[in-house]
């Protein structure tokens, strides 16, 4: 897509303008925060949506920008989920925000340690290995049920008030504001990363690692770095889930969770940051609607949607997404529009 700039503009101005927050983006976030007051009765499901959005953002970072296919983000999500639950339950760390950061760091550490697994091998190997790590952690959590509560889940978790002041309430008001703020902060950081030279180098890794190394980019180091960051963000999402629900169970590690995440990104589109957010909203909406029709067999309809999307062709779905975005962009927004197709 070629930019529509007047020829007299300097390149620097072009780049600066591209990185600036567009009116549409600002409107998006204003609306997002406005939902606190617009939908007071829906805070519980909105919290889930915000968490899912953050989780999807973490996958978009590695999949949409660096081209790493992963079925195992649930590993980091779940690990941080349990860590945050355990530190709260046993009073190791009471302050939720500190626990959140701590859990995120633990998840990032796991990401760092396992990152070398995704450096080598084909897409299939990456899928396998990432899935394997997630399932392995799930198995571990299952085995050590005396610590994790096993299949029953982590019981007896109480989350202290944020900063000692904001108590988590039954209706999820505090929880939602908390999640939204965390989502926004993480989003700002990721947005910064994406528009930085580092972020640009990630996109080159997705395109052509051979050439990237031929122009001096230390490919492996960059992959490890972005994988670690992504793991940390996925971990923060997981910890948020535990903190807002005061509960954590084995399904945080499940294949379903990783698969749903991919679906969210496909619906929303990858490579422009808002795909995960928009996809999460649509997904949750779908889930709510279908669950009201057939509560038990949600999985069937999700499966059908996946199959349908693939049969229709992701490029066509991408195309629709791009068309919608282009239409919105025409309204004065200027989202990053490098909507590269997934995989290849």
């Amino acid at each position: 897509m070629s930019a529509m700039i007047p020829p007299t503009d300097g390149v620097a101005a072009f780049l600066a303008r591209r990185a600036r927050w567009s009116p549409l983006e600002i409107a998006f976030w204003v609306f997002a925060f406005a939902t606190i007051w617009l939908f007071p009765g829906k805070h519980l499901i909105l919290t889930e949506t915000a968490i899912l959005a953050l989780f999807a953002l973490s996958l978009d970072l590695i999949l949409g920008y660096a081209g790493i296919i992963s079925l195992g983000q649930a590993a980091f999500f779940g690990l941080a989920g349990y860590v945050s639950g355990l530190v709260a339950k046993y009073g190791i760390v009471d302050e939720p925000v500190v626990a959140l950061v701590l859990s995120g760091l633990v998840a990032a550490a796991l990401g760092f340690v396992t990152s070398f697994l995704v450096l080598r091998g084909s897409d299939l190997t990456r899928l396998m290995v990432t899935l394997g790590v997630a399932l392995m952690l799930g198995e571990l959590a299952n085995r050590y049920s005396n610590i994790t509560g096993g299949a029953d889940g982590l019981q007896g978790v109480t989350i202290a008030p944020i900063f000692g002041v904001f108590r988590f309430d039954m209706f999820g008001h505090t929880g939602y504001v908390y999640c939204l703020i965390v989502l926004f902060v993480c989003f700002v950081v990721v947005r910064r990363i994406v528009y930085s030279p580092f972020g640009l180098s990630l996109r080159s890794l997705k395109g052509n690692t051979l050439r990237a190394s031929a122009i001096g980019i230390p490919v492996n180091r960059r992959l490890v770095a972005v994988y670690t960051v992504s793991a940390g963000i996925a971990g923060i999402a997981g910890a948020l889930l535990t903190q807002t629900t005061a509960f954590c169970s084995l399904d945080v590690f499940s294949l379903e969770r990783s698969a749903d995440l991919l679906l969210v990104l496909i619906i929303g589109g990858t490579g422009y940051l808002y795909g995960g957010l928009i996809g999460a909203v649509i997904y949750k909406f779908l889930q709510d609607w279908i669950a009201s029709l057939t509560p038990q067999y949600w999985q069937f309809w999700i499966g059908l949607v996946l199959v349908a999307i693939v049969l229709i062709g992701r490029e066509r779905v991408d195309g629709w997404v791009a068309a919608v975005r282009a239409a919105l962009a025409g309204l004065g927004g200027r989202l990053v529009t490098r909507s590269a197709a997934l995989g290849g």
Binding site: P197, R203, G216, R338
Partner: protein, 249 residues
């Protein structure tokens, strides 16, 4: 002291010897061409020089420093860059972004995740300068994938150049470029700064003889002849190799 030197370089793939006993010495500022029939091992040699392949024996010296064990990206940082015979570009990035990437990386901004691309004027100026030098200004905001082949080829060279190499390895830069766009390409290559040493692999003999001040002939993985263009052109062994090929073809 030669700026680029190989000593007894050898590469074996199982039973196939793609390079044996290749000893090359290239002086600073040289315009050195490497020619030879298809399958002679020219691209293998470039891959060995840049670190994409590891030699079975022998060593490579860049400006007096042994780089045989270094990874490709490390060699780039020491001042060696290359182009690929088949364009290896980033199809979703624009020429501006592509060159910007190489420049940022070179000045050490590559791992900067906080500052915005384009926020350093010196860097941006350099990017624009390179874009203009390689006549890509009119397409600098287009996705690489939709550029005409000649422009892509120019970008390919511009990208290597953006690494400000001391030694530039060009692997068949004119390959596949339509006649209409060749002139632009050749003029750009001729206009490369004099302090950049260029090693050129080419089949196009017009380009070779007009550009090179020294030619090496590679046949079956070994160096056959090396010398000034006129001498190489007259050498009977070279004629035999090429004419022999033409008779068979």
């Amino acid at each position: 002291m030669p700026i680029l030197e190989t000593i007894g370089l050898e590469k074996r793939f199982g039973g196939v010897t793609a390079a044996h006993g290749v000893s090359l010495a290239i002086e600073k500022g040289a315009r050195h061409a490497l020619i030879g029939p298809n399958g002679a091992g020219k691209t293998t040699l470039i891959n060995l020089l840049t670190g994409v392949l590891k030699p079975t024996a022998g060593s490579i010296m860049l400006d007096g420093r042994d780089i045989t064990a270094l990874a490709p990206y490390q060699r780039v940082r020491l001042g060696m860059a290359r182009t690929f015979q088949i364009n290896q570009l980033f199809s979703d990035l624009t020429p501006l972004e592509t060159i910007g990437l190489a420049v940022s990386e070179r000045v050490g901004l590559g791992s900067d995740w906080w500052r915005l691309v384009g926020s350093r004027p010196a860097v941006t100026d350099e990017i624009v300068e390179i874009v203009e030098r390689f006549r890509l200004t009119d397409v600098m905001h287009e996705r690489t994938a939709i550029l005409p082949y000649g422009k892509q080829r120019l970008l390919e060279i511009a990208l290597a150049f953006a690494c400000r190499p001391h030694v530039l390895l060009l692997d068949e830069p004119a390959a596949g470029v339509p006649d209409a766009e060749r002139h632009e390409l050749l003029a750009t290559i001729a206009a490369l700064p004099e302090d950049v040493t260029v090693l050129l692999i080419e089949h196009d003999m017009d380009l070779v003889f007009s550009f090179a001040d020294r030619i090496s002939v590679l046949v079956n993985g070994g160096l056959l002849v090396e010398g000034a263009p006129e001498d190489v052109a007259r050498d009977p062994r070279v004629k035999a190799v090429y004419l022999g090929e033409e008779l068979d073809a």
